[in-house]
């Protein structure tokens, strides 16, 4: 407790000038590239293509997430960056240097493992000191840096404990301290919060984000939890079946998903099938199955006659009774189900025999007129802003 918070911040930050907290200085994408993946591919012995031509550029100080369902290749990608797996083809570059077959212990990256992988036969102090001892750093410097690292994760006084004497959240922090104490260029995190219960996970999400901004180290974070990725990341790469489908900021990924998979995996989407009938500048008209023609804003409009899917988020849809004066909606239907969840109400609206649309309506005073929900069977009209819908060709 003798050192002040500011001092220890400086101690673990790469340098005072680069260790900005995102408030000023260079924007993340203008900073130098820390990790670059070039056409990275991993084919396992059994022929499974785990990672398929993945190319990414991760900038200094970025909180970058690899997000996807289990088996999408995100962990294998991370393990190739760490050096535990060798790429079948392609290249990992760290600080511009191709890694080739460089073993893990010669890479300037550290990993926080899913199950923490704390050494059970060592105390917290010895766990955190391990990396520094391997590098033959003088004893008193080790003591100082371990103390700083434990303060950073708020675990002072736990030096002599063994991992089994700690709670899940504390073990998690030891794992972080053990990695950060080495001042790596890049910290790799493999679903580090997966083993924690929901409440603790939420706390640790914010704590991790703050920690990352404090130390200014590049984080590459693997998760299958879209909410977690949206909460913490500067940028997200959504992966499926070994491929990167989309890279972007949380807002970009959520608001402008480029594919049906992304629109479905991140948050919730309604998918309406239809055919392009008219192509205008920056806008297309799509005749939905069931007959409604709607116009959707679209940057790269597909040709006339193309079968497309229109994706709309449930919370972007306005719902009103069909006879109401403002009911000049895009789509008409009938309420089939009403699910009240306190802050919001979900309406399931059938618009054709094959298609239902989910609408999420916030229960504020304007929407919920006099506390009245729309009853089941009500004819309704649905409406949304032109840029709220996305045309997806795949």
């Amino acid at each position: 407790m003798s050192t002040s918070g500011i001092e220890l911040t400086v101690g673990l930050t790469r340098s005072a000038t680069q260790g900005e907290t995102g408030m000023g200085g260079m924007r993340p994408l203008e900073r130098p590239i820390d990790v670059e993946l070039v056409e990275l591919t991993k084919v396992f012995d059994n022929g499974v293509v785990a990672v398929d031509r993945v190319s990414l550029q991760i900038h200094q100080g970025e909180f970058f997430s690899l997000l996807g369902p289990s088996g999408c290749g995100k962990t294998t990608t991370l393990r190739m960056i760490a050096g535990f797996e060798h790429p079948t083809s392609g290249e990992v570059l760290i600080e511009g240097r191709p890694m080739g077959n460089t073993p893990p212990f010669r890479r300037n990256v550290n990993t926080v493992f899913q199950n923490y992988a704390l050494f059970p036969h060592m105390t917290v102090y010895d766990n955190v000191a391990f990396g520094l001892r391997m590098k033959r750093i003088p004893r008193d410097e080790i003591a100082r840096r371990v103390r700083e690292a434990l303060q950073l994760v708020r675990l002072q006084g736990f030096e002599e404990r063994y991992p089994r004497q700690l709670s899940g959240g504390q073990q998690q922090r030891v794992a972080l301290a053990r990695a950060l104490v080495n001042r790596p260029r890049v910290l790799l995190l493999d679903e580090p919060l997966g083993a924690l219960d929901l409440k603790l996970r939420k706390e640790m999400q914010l704590e991790l984000k703050h920690l990352q901004m404090t130390v200014g180290i590049t984080f590459i974070y693997v998760t299958h939890d879209q909410e977690e990725a949206l909460t913490m990341s500067d940028r997200i790469a959504v992966m499926n079946a070994g491929r990167v489908l989309q890279v972007g900021t949380p807002v970009e990924i959520y608001e402008r998903p480029s594919s049906r998979f992304v629109a479905d995996f991140i948050g919730e989407s309604n998918f309406l099938r239809g055919r392009v009938t008219e192509v205008g500048p920056g806008e297309v008209t799509v005749a939905l199955d069931g007959g409604f023609p709607i116009s959707v804003r679209c940057d790269q409009p597909p040709a006339r006659g193309t079968e497309v899917t229109v994706a709309v988020r449930p919370e972007k849809i306005r719902i009103a009774p069909a006879e109401a004066p403002e009911a000049n909606g895009l789509v008409r239907g009938r309420v089939e189900e009403v699910i009240y969840i306190g802050t919001d109400t979900f309406y399931v609206v059938r618009i054709t025999d094959e298609t239902v649309v989910r609408v999420r309506s916030q229960n504020d005073r304007n929407r919920l007129d006099g506390g009245q929900l729309l009853p089941v069977g009500t004819p309704v009209s649905l409406d949304w802003a032109p840029d709220a819908a996305r045309v997806l060709t795949e």
């Binding site: 535990f84 212990f105 990993t111 036969h121």
Partner: protein, 287 residues
């Protein structure tokens, strides 16, 4: 089973009770008999090692004379010394070989692995007498050829006993160590590598310490096997290489005396301590 057919169905409940109590009776009897057969001779032997009489048939009062005599008996001292030398050396070597064999079997894949696995575990199942004769034949042949080719005059003695003990005890070490390796969390080793440890440092600071309880348990087992062994030792001993079991056997041939009882009791105690230690270490979990 037979009672079911003869008894009327109205008596189901009492019959069941009777069968349950019969089962329990049989179990109790079994336990009692097992203890009697297993431990009565040992207990009798131990008790008579404190008997003031030379005769085994009568109890003449308590004495520690036989233990004192044993301590001052030159032949016993030499035999004990031989046994310890053989046990220590063979334990050390078989622990290293056994641990390496366990690592090889658990961590690597190679062409003749199944064959090696089977061959290695053979000494555990082969009758001891067969192993003893095989080693005897082998040493004879080896000595003959070493003499012919290099003029080396070698003979049976502590060396042959030690080699024989290594041969039969290292598979036991391998089995024990392998059991511990099987539930070894390999991400711990990856974590060490990730933190900058080389392969050797990873082995030295992570793998070895975590395997240590298994290795020590294996070593204690090897030590116990070595210090107790009679058959293989008997066939591969030479002049002046008498171990404790051989010494006891030699004395018993001239008649069972209380000093043999005393010696056996001491060995029994030592073995029990070692085996208990081994079990405790195997049970201990570091995780």
């Amino acid at each position: 089973m037979t009672s079911e057919a003869t008894m009327p169905s109205a008596l189901v409940l009492p019959k069941r009770r009777w069968r349950v109590s019969f089962g329990w009776l049989a179990l109790y009897l079994n336990v009692v008999l097992a203890f009697v057969f297993l431990y009565a001779p040992i207990v009798v032997m131990s008790i008579f090692s404190f008997n003031a009489s030379r005769q085994m048939q009568v109890w003449m009062g308590f004495t520690l004379d036989w233990y004192v005599r044993m301590l001052h008996d030159e032949r016993v001292r030499i035999a004990a010394q031989n046994s310890l030398i053989v046990a220590l050396v063979s334990t050390l070597v078989s622990t290293v070989i056994g641990t390496l064999a366990a690592m090889a079997l658990e961590r690597t894949r190679f062409r003749v692995k199944r064959l090696y696995e089977g061959a290695m575990y053979l000494p555990i199942i082969v009758p001891e007498i067969v192993m003893a004769i095989a080693l005897l034949v082998f040493f004879n042949l080896a000595f003959t050829w070493l003499d012919r080719l290099f003029g080396l005059q070698l003979n049976f003695g502590l060396g042959t006993i030690t080699i024989a003990h290594i041969a039969f005890s290292f598979p036991f070490v391998a089995v024990v160590v392998r059991a511990r390796l099987a539930d070894f969390d390999r991400t711990l080793e990856q974590a060490a590598q990730d933190l900058g440890a080389t392969d050797w440092q990873t082995f030295r600071y992570i793998t070895l310490p975590l395997l240590m309880p298994g290795i020590i348990a294996g070593a204690l087992l090897a030590f116990t096997l070595s210090i107790d062994d009679f058959v293989i030792t008997f066939f591969n001993a030479g002049v002046g290489s008498t171990t404790l079991p051989l010494e006891i056997y030699g004395r018993v041939r001239r008649g069972i005396t209380p000093d043999v009882n005393a010696l056996s009791t001491v060995m029994l105690l030592a073995s029990i301590v070692l085996v208990l230690g081994s079990l405790l270490l195997q049970r201990r979990r570091t995780a």
